[in-house]
């Protein structure tokens, strides 16, 4: 592979980088050694980018962890041994990691430790919209947030030094538009840290028993106090005061992150950037008290522009109250708490705040009903096969299973036409939740937990052990497509390939399940795409007693076609015989592979396959009740 330009040791060079690439570059420049995480949109490209740098910067020790808690612990272990370390995750990943995170903050660190939380306003790729800035006051550690890819790179580089100086964990928070947006980035120098890794054997510092923790909590608060004093002079925070008035009033703004960038555009749009005071915050927590006071004292009215929760607003109001300042403070009375802000909203709200006319153009009413374009399982996806086979087995047994779902591509089975999920909250929950559901199930409504391979390794396995131990009996289907597909085809323990593409040790799913205590006769392993066999065996598994595990195995279609291409395998084309097709549309309206389309044939509606997107998996051949789909041998 050619050396990617973002891996070069060429300070001063200007590139276009995605936020996540810029963050990876900042991690490299900051002299980090250990970088770990669990894939999750919008954070996944950070470690993936580091992996492409690793060949040229062999000091980087990278791992995909099996979940975020382990990632947090690995990174903490690195920092404990005096290595600069970083743990990368999406916002909900920090919930998983928080057990380790909350107490690791007590001991503090030796090598710099940065935890990256990529939040997702508008839930573009997430199950919730939580605001992880709250983890700052919760864990009593600093939270920093960049407003552009360039700043992200510089800020994370600096964060390692900051972390070491204050012996604190630093939470680096971003949002989707930062992670997945490109911008000019000027590279900096790659720092080489001289510190030697070693062990610090000091139980009173690192063993969190009550007698130590009581003391540590006080130390933690002292550390926070020191950091708080520095928040005003944090290099990524800045205050510009203006003495100008608009309509007789002095206005001020406070913002951070991506909203700051859009706010500045809005102020430029109205040509008032020079006429208002602006506090741009880089360190959200602890907040820059003195700067906030100065801004408040200077202005008659201020507006706080932040997406999601009123985190900054609450600090500002607290500071205003404590220092008896009566400046009028607006925030969530103006901007919504839920969702991402479109540019139009910034313009409207800014204009209204300063009392300027701004008429947004009325949108032209349209009576065109546009068919929705929801994300779909790929053509040839083996998950569709499993859902289909499960439906057929249920039909045969005249039962209606309650399907407890999980997180991955297969969550898309909730949409039409499969509509195969009844509940889903978080990673691994399919099995955990099924533990109780199984107490309510009946013969007609048995419980089935459906989970992917990577998610099973992540946190499904603990729910399974719980079921074995407590004798909660239900069927678990593990959709083993040997990949963490939704987030970009990352390898996992079941593939035995490491993030660096070197081989690791493969964890054998069957052995793992057996080791959890599932008896041999209650384990099935079938090829997802062999529909007749799948239906037969699923019937068996649905009727069997006890806790059961059905491993439905077929490699992710995207990987399969990649393999075929590499090995020069040409699969035969799959076609619909229009003479045999009676137009029942089972394949299109019930199975729903997107490569199947309706056509007119001799004046009748028939099904047909779009060869440009068909992946030639041949599954639809078994789906057609009239044998109209065939492949050309």
């Amino acid at each position: 592979m050619n050396k990617p330009d973002y891996a070069e040791d060429s300070p001063g060079k200007e590139l276009i980088l995605m936020g996540n690439e810029a963050i990876a570059r900042g991690i490299l420049e900051g002299g980090a050694i250990i970088a770990v995480g669990y894939p999750g949109t919008p954070s996944s490209e950070i470690l993936a980018t580091l992996a492409t740098m690793q060949k040229f910067h062999s000091h980087l020790m990278l791992e995909w962890s099996i979940n975020e808690k382990v990632a947090m612990e690995v990174a903490y272990g690195g920092a404990l041994s005096n290595l600069r370390s970083v743990a990368v995750m999406k916002h909900v990943g920090l919930n998983v990691a928080s057990d380790a995170f909350m107490t690791a903050c007590y001991t503090g660190v030796r090598g710099g430790l940065v935890v990256i939380s990529a939040d997702d306003p508008n839930c573009y790729s997430s199950q919730n919209e939580q605001d992880n800035r709250y983890f700052g006051p919760h864990a009593l550690i600093p939270v920093i947030e960049p407003s552009s890819p360039q700043e992200a790179k510089n800020m994370i580089k600096d964060a390692f030094t900051f972390s070491e100086k204050h012996k604190t964990i630093v939470l680096f928070r971003t949002t989707t538009r930062l992670n997945h947006g490109r911008a000019n980035v000027i590279l900096g120098d790659i720092q080489k840290t001289e510190t030697k890794p070693d062990f610090d054997r000091n139980p009173s510092k690192y063993v969190c028993v009550p007698s130590n923790s009581r003391r540590m909590r006080k130390e933690l608060l002292q550390r926070l106090e020191k950091i708080s004093e520095e928040s005003d002079s944090y290099p990524f925070t800045s205050l510009t005061l203006s003495e100008k008035r608009i309509n007789g009033k002095k206005f001020g703004f406070i913002s951070a992150g991506i909203p700051y960038a859009h706010l500045m555009d809005a102020l430029e749009y109205f040509k008032i950037a020079e006429n208002v005071s602006i506090l741009k915050i880089g360190m959200i927590y602890p907040p820059p008290k003195k700067l906030i006071q100065k801004l408040l004292e200077n202005c008659d009215e201020i507006l706080i522009v932040e997406e999601l929760e009123p985190v900054i607003e609450n600090f500002v109001k607290q500071i205003a109250y404590d220092s008896k300042i009566t400046t009028i403070i607006h925030g969530k009375d103006v901007f919504p708490i839920a969702g991402e802000f479109p540019v139009k909203l910034y313009l409207e709200k800014t204009a209204a705040f300063i009392g300027k006319e701004f008429a947004t153009q009325e949108l032209l009413e349209s009576d065109i009903e546009l068919p929705p374009r929801l994300p779909l399982l790929c053509p040839g996806c083996s998950h569709r096969s499993t859902y289909w086979a499960l439906k057929q087995a249920e039909k045969k047994l005249k039962i209606n299973a309650f399907k407890s779902g999980d997180i991955g591509c297969y969550t898309l089975g909730v949409y039409k036409p499969l509509e195969s999920l009844n509940a889903q909250i978080c990673m691994g929950s399919s099995i955990g939740v099924a533990n109780a559901l199984s107490k309510v199930q009946t013969d007609k409504e048995p419980v089935v937990a459906i989970i992917g391979d990577s998610t099973f390794f992540h946190s499904g396995v603990s729910g399974l052990i719980n079921a074995v131990y407590n004798q909660n009996n239900f069927l678990v289907i593990i959709l083993d497509n040997q990949s963490t597909s939704m987030t970009g085809m990352q390898p996992n323990p079941g593939t035995g390939v490491k993030i660096t593409e070197e081989s690791g040790t493969k964890v054998i799913l069957r052995d793992l399940v057996k080791g959890c205590g599932i008896p041999e006769e209650n384990i099935w392993i079938e090829d997802s795409n062999n529909i007749p066999k799948m239906v037969e065996k699923l019937e068996e598994a649905l009727q069997a007693k006890g806790i059961r595990v059905f491993i439905s195995r077929h490699v992710c279609s995207l990987l399969e076609i990649r393999e075929w291409k590499e090995q020069k395998v040409v699969m035969p084309e799959v076609k619909v015989d229009p003479e045999k097709c009676i137009g029942c549309m089972t394949c299109i309206r019930k199975f729903g592979c997107p490569a199947l389309v309706e056509i007119e044939y001799n004046g009748k509606k028939k099904s047909s396959i779009d060869p440009s997107i068909c992946r030639r998996c041949q599954v639809c051949i078994d789906v057609c009740p009239y044998g109209a789909i065939y492949c050309e041998e």
Partner: protein
Amino acid sequence: MHNSHGYNILTVGVGGTGVISATQILAWAALEDNYQVRTAETHGMAQRGGSVVGYLRFGSNVKGPLIYKADVILSFELSEILRYSEYINEKTSLFVSKDILIPPSVYTYNIPYPSQDVILNHLRKITHHVHLIDAGKMAKNAGNPKTSNVVLIGTIYGAGKLPIQESSLKNAIIKFVPDRAKKINEIAFQIGIQYGRKIKEGFYE
């Protein structure tokens, strides 16, 4: 160019059809012309056949990645542009590919795919600058149907709607395609430019 707001291009289409790579190419070309550049792109779940969008802004002082009103919209699929009407005003130029990708919801939700005329009539009520492009066919003529994104980039350049130098665009295109596809992409770019020029000269709509 809308001075205080830079130049704003929205690229829309369906996951996996080159929307994101088009945005990336344009961003690099803008860098070569010394602009400040910002993009926001759809990655992750929606890329599985969902509706995807790339926002691109460049100018001397752009900060936020999202767009208010677009100067140009490139739609890689006929109907997708309708999802983005809020970004169109009377000054926006629309370059809409004739290519159609039927979403399965047409069958599962029984909502028919709107006809080309219905779509164009609606768009023309908002702006006069609506151009329908047979990008798929031109890409095929270039030698690979996958080059339709490069054809469209060429088209907006040829039509005078892309304030970036031709050489910068060419360099950026070449940066992102594998060696064996460079020639074909250069051809696709030229085919697009020729077509765009014809639009500018009023030969085509």
